[in-house]
């Protein structure tokens, strides 16, 4: 069982790592690269806490092998803020108290960002269906949905 050498881009930085063939991208991010912002809530693609984008496409990093990242562009929660300036979604989540325990928050933020990049003006229903793969057990989703819609409105105004 030999490790695989992977060269990829994470949050704009060129990254190289070695990983075992069966290791998921989530394992690589958390255990090899120390990027623990992506969380494992289920390991089976049912909770969305490990959401990242790969070449701009939202995926569960637990459902992708680390080896598959070769040559791809990965974006994680760690790359969402620009230095000390929070992304509007991050700011709105704080303003709306859209997190309680915060474990699902990184995944929801990554997923919401992917939504707004595809659809800057989502309806409540579109937002709810887009985020259906991100389980949150604390908030009942109410404030989460409000925060995403509010961030979308602010981003539309700013653009």
């Amino acid at each position: 069982m030999s490790n695989i050498h992977v060269t990829t881009t994470i949050n704009g930085d060129s990254v190289e790592y070695l990983c075992a063939p069966e290791e998921t991208l989530l394992d690589v991010l958390r255990d090899r690269l120390g990027m623990t912002g992506s969380k494992e809530g289920c390991g089976t693609g049912d909770c969305g806490a490990c959401s990242v984008t790969v070449d701009g496409r939202l995926v569960c990093s637990c459902l992708m092998l680390g080896a598959e990242a070769e040559g791809r562009e990965i974006a994680t929660i760690e790359g969402m803020a620009a230095g000390e300036v929070l992304h509007p979604l991050q700011r709105k989540f704080l303003e709306h108290a859209a997190l309680q325990c915060g474990i699902c928050t990184p995944g929801i933020l990554v997923a919401a960002k992917a939504l707004l990049e595809k659809n800057p003006d989502p309806s409540e229903e579109e937002t709810r269906y887009w985020l259906a793969g991100n389980l949150c057990r604390c908030t009942g989703y109410d404030k989460v949905i409000r925060a995403v819609m509010d961030a979308a409105a602010e981003m539309r105004e700013a653009s």
Partner: protein, 287 residues
């Protein structure tokens, strides 16, 4: 375990042929990785087919559409041509899992996983879709309904894998629809799934229909009686009633954690009726 990402079909076939039992094809990986994690699959080799040229392509062919084995649900949903011609197939694939899963899951993978509850398979069977299979003896085309044989089993031979799915050309006034029943609004495996594909003539009479059911038998069921119930009708209430009855009759489900026999048989008819109405309205250009 070994991970291989060949760049050609030939090279993929040769790796697959060399380790027939312990070799698994990786397309979207949304089933394979879950099985591996649960210890249900322990492949010796994983062949990632996403680096093979053409696997991500959707191309027009003979009036229909050829969809590469690595085209994910999100990509298919963004393709205007396929969405216009085969909305039922597209919505079936798009129902699988979350937005995240849509970034990975493929028609070919859903087919080859051979789950009786696979969402896209009844829609593809109703559509008369054909899988192109590459193998040691070259390529062959197989009707989608002949690919799965039993839960988790396919008719693919040693060294073979699906390289694309072909959706045939559409006549005028034809459309399809897929509906499934799940307890929540998202994130579940179908308790019952139903794909309906219809063609109408100029005065709205159904000239041809294909109806397929999922999750109510060991593999997808193409319900001939249901098609017969619709063909020649104006898709009126009486015809829809016969359709529902035929589907409830044809369903041969089991009791399990996701539903009971009685529930599944009943809902098979309900969904067939509802899907037929959607397909009819689409074919009429009303939806």
């Amino acid at each position: 375990m070994r991970y291989e990402a060949p760049q050609t079909v030939e090279s993929a076939v040769s790796i697959l042929s060399a380790t027939p039992a312990g070799c698994h094809v990786l397309a979207g990986g949304t089933d394979l990785l879950v099985r591996m994690r649960a210890g249900m699959s322990e492949p010796e080799v994983i062949v990632d087919i996403k680096r093979i040229a053409g696997m991500h392509e959707i191309s027009a062919e003979e009036g229909g559409w050829r969809i590469g084995a690595a085209v994910c649900g999100a990509e298919l949903g963004e393709h205007e041509g396929v969405c216009a011609a085969w909305p039922g197939v597209v919505e079936a694939l798009e129902l699988i899992g979350s937005t995240q899963v849509q970034g990975r899951a493929t028609l070919a993978g859903n087919l080859c996983n051979a789950s009786p509850a696979a969402d896209s398979v009844p829609a593809m069977v109703a559509a008369g879709a054909v899988a192109r299979v590459a193998g040691p003896d070259g390529t062959r085309d197989v009707a989608v309904q002949d690919v799965p044989t039993d839960p988790g089993k396919t008719s693919l031979g040693r060294g073979e894998f699906v390289t694309s799915i072909f959706l045939p050309a559409r006549p005028e006034r034809a459309s399809d629809a897929y509906l499934r029943f799940i307890p929540r609004t998202e994130m579940d495996i179908a308790v019952v799934g139903c794909g309906v594909n219809l063609e109408l003539d100029a005065d709205g009479t159904c000239t041809q229909a294909r109806v397929a059911l999922g999750a109510v038998g060991p593999k997808v069921i193409l319900v001939e009686d249901a098609a017969a119930a619709l063909a020649g009708s104006a898709l009126d209430d009486a015809a829809l009633e016969r359709l529902a009855a035929a589907c409830s009759q044809a369903a041969s489900p089991i009791d399990d954690k996701r539903g009971t026999v009685a529930f599944r048989k009943h809902v098979a008819g309900v969904l067939a009726r509802r899907a037929a109405i959607i397909a009819r309205d689409r074919a009429r250009g009303e939806a």
